[in-house]
C-alpha cells in the first residue's frame, strides 16, 4: 500500500486537509501519515473516502470530525469533539480523549484506548463507541441510537434523558441520569457487545462482566402527573 507523509511543521494543515478531501478514486486504499500534529485543531476533518490516516502525536479539537468511510488513527491524545458527527468509518484514539467525543455521531466506530472526558457520546445517533478507560460526567446525554461500551467507570448523570442507545459499563457508575436504568442483557445485546469488544482490541474481555443501561422511557410522553413541572 502506498504511504504518503505530511509534516505539519512544514505544510499548512489546510493543504493537508484539502488533499484528504480529494477524489475517492485517487485516495481509496491509500495510507497517509501526518507528523508533528502538535495539538492542531481540525486534523483530518470531513474525510469521505476509504483512506487510512495516522496522526503521529496529539491532536487538537474536532479531529476526524464528520468522518465518512476513512480510518483515522491518532497515536496520542485527542482534544474536544473527536469524531463528532461521524457518519461511518473508524476513528481510533490510542491515548485519552477530551470532552464530547463522538458527539451526535451517526455511524461508524470510535475506539478510545484511554479515558474519555465529560459528555462522551452526547446525543449519539447510531455510532458505536468503545472506551478502554473511564468516561466523565453526563456521558450519553440524550443518546438516541448506537452502542456505547465503557470498560472503566462512568461519572455522574450517565445516560441522562436517554432514548434508545445502549450503554454497557464494566466498572462503577457514579450516578445515572434522569430516566436511565439498568437493563437485562438479551442474547442479541450480548452479541453486539462481544462483537464490539472484538473489533476494538478487547477480545479477551468477558462480555458478562458488563452491566447494561438504557431508557426507562418515562420521559417519552407527556404525563399529567408532571403538569405542575411545566
Amino acid at each position: 500500500m502506498e504511504t504518503l507523509k505530511f509534516d505539519l511543521d512544514a505544510k499548512p494543515l489546510r493543504e493537508v486537509n484539502q488533499f484528504l478531501h480529494g477524489d475517492a478514486g485517487v485516495l481509496d486504499g491509500k495510507s497517509v501519515v501526518i507528523e508533528n500534529p502538535n495539538g492542531a485543531h481540525n486534523i483530518a476533518v470531513g474525510l469521505k473516502s476509504d483512506v487510512h490516516v495516522t496522526i503521529k502525536g496529539h491532536a487538537g479539537y474536532y479531529a476526524a470530525g464528520m468522518n465518512q468511510l476513512a480510518k483515522v488513527t491518532i497515536e496520542g491524545s485527542a482534544g474536544s469533539g473527536v469524531a463528532e458527527n461521524m457518519m461511518s468509518g473508524v476513528v481510533h484514539v490510542k491515548g485519552f480523549a477530551s470532552n464530547a467525543a463522538a458527539a451526535t455521531a451517526n455511524g461508524g466506530l470510535l475506539i478510545i484506548d484511554g479515558d474519555a472526558g465529560l459528555r462522551t457520546a452526547i446525543a449519539l445517533k447510531g455510532a458505536d463507541v468503545v472506551v478502554g478507560g473511564s468516561v466523565g460526567s453526563f456521558s450519553a446525554f440524550m443518546a438516541q441510537a448506537g452502542n456505547f461500551v465503557i470498560l472503566g467507570d462512568a461519572g455522574e448523570g450517565l445516560g441522562d434523558s436517554i432514548y434508545e442507545a445502549k450503554i454497557f459499563v464494566r466498572g462503577k457508575v457514579k450516578s445515572l441520569g434522569a430516566d436511565c436504568e439498568e437493563k437485562t442483557t438479551s442474547p442479541e445485546d450480548r452479541k453486539i457487545l462481544a462483537d464490539l469488544l472484538a473489533k476494538s482490541g478487547h477480545a479477551d474481555v468477558n462480555p458478562d462482566s458488563f452491566k447494561q443501561y438504557g431508557s426507562a422511557r418515562t420521559l417519552y410522553h407527556f404525563h399529567v402527573d408532571n403538569a405542575g413541572a411545566y
Binding site: 495539538g39 492542531a40 496529539h58 487538537g60 485519552f96 470532552n99 460526567s137
Partner: protein, 298 residues
Amino acid sequence: MCGIVGLLVRNPKMRDSIGELMLPMLIGMTERGPDSAGLAMFGAPVSANERKFSLYSGVADFNWTKLGHDFEKHLSIKAKVEPKVNHAVLTTTLEPETVKIWLKEHYPQLHLLSVGQLMDIYKDVGTPAQVADRYDFKNFKGTHLVGHTRMATESAITPAHAHPFTAGEDWCLVHNGSLSNANSLRRKLQYEGIEFETDNDTEAACRFLQWRMREGDDLETALNHGFDELDGFYTLLMGTSNQLALVRDPFGCKPAIIAEHDDYVAIASEFRSLAHLPDIKNAKVFEPSPKEMYVWKL
C-alpha cells in the same frame, strides 16, 4: 475564550531559561486570547525586610526616576525603581500599607499590580507576542510563572482588566471562563470591606478567594467554598511563592492539559502550547478532572 499557561521548572539548570521556555507557550495561546496578555513571574526573592511593588503607568513616557526621588524625599527611605517601558518594579523596606497610601495620594494614576518578595507582574493590551516583546519576557529568569492571553467577553479591554489578578502577597490567579454571578459576588464582598479595581469577573473570583483566606481558609478550603459560590465556567490557575495550583469547574466546561516531566511541570489550555517543550514526548500528559484541585510544589 482566553488561554492560560503555567510553568514550574524543577531542574535548577533550566531556571535561567524559563522565559525562553514559556514564550512559545504564551504565543501558542494567541488564537484563544489575542487582545491582551499578562505574566506573573516568580524570581529571586528580595531581602527578608523588603517588598517588591509592580506598578503600571498607562503611558510610555512616565518619569519613573522622579517617582523614585519623590518616594525617597517624602518618606525618607530608600527605594529602588526598575522601569520596563510603562511598568516598573519598586523595591523598598517600607510597610506595604504605607506604600499603598503614598502611591494613592501622590500618583493616583498608577496601578499597583502586585506586592510580594518574589513575584513581578506585567500585563498589557496587544497580542501575546507584542506584549512579550514589549517587556522582554524571553529573558526572564525564575522558578515558576503564570501567564494568560485574553479574549474579553464580559468587560473592557484595558491593561487593568488583563490577567493575572492578585489577592495578597506573592499570590496571583488567571482565569479562562466566565462567571455569571460576578456582580452579586462583588456586592457581597464590598460589604465585607474588600476593595475592587475593575468590574472584571475574574477579579470577583480572585477577591472571593482573598476574602476566604482572610477569614482563615487555606487555599484548598477557599477553593472548596469557591465550588459552592462561583457560578459559571472556569479553569483557574494560581501561583504562590512556592507552588502552582489548578482547578476546573464541576462541568469541565473550560479546558486544561498538564505535562509532568522530571525537569518541569507545564500547564496550558491546550496541547498546542506544550508541544514545543523539551523532551515533551517523555512527559506524562493528562487532562485534569473537573472539581479537583491539583497542586505542584517547587
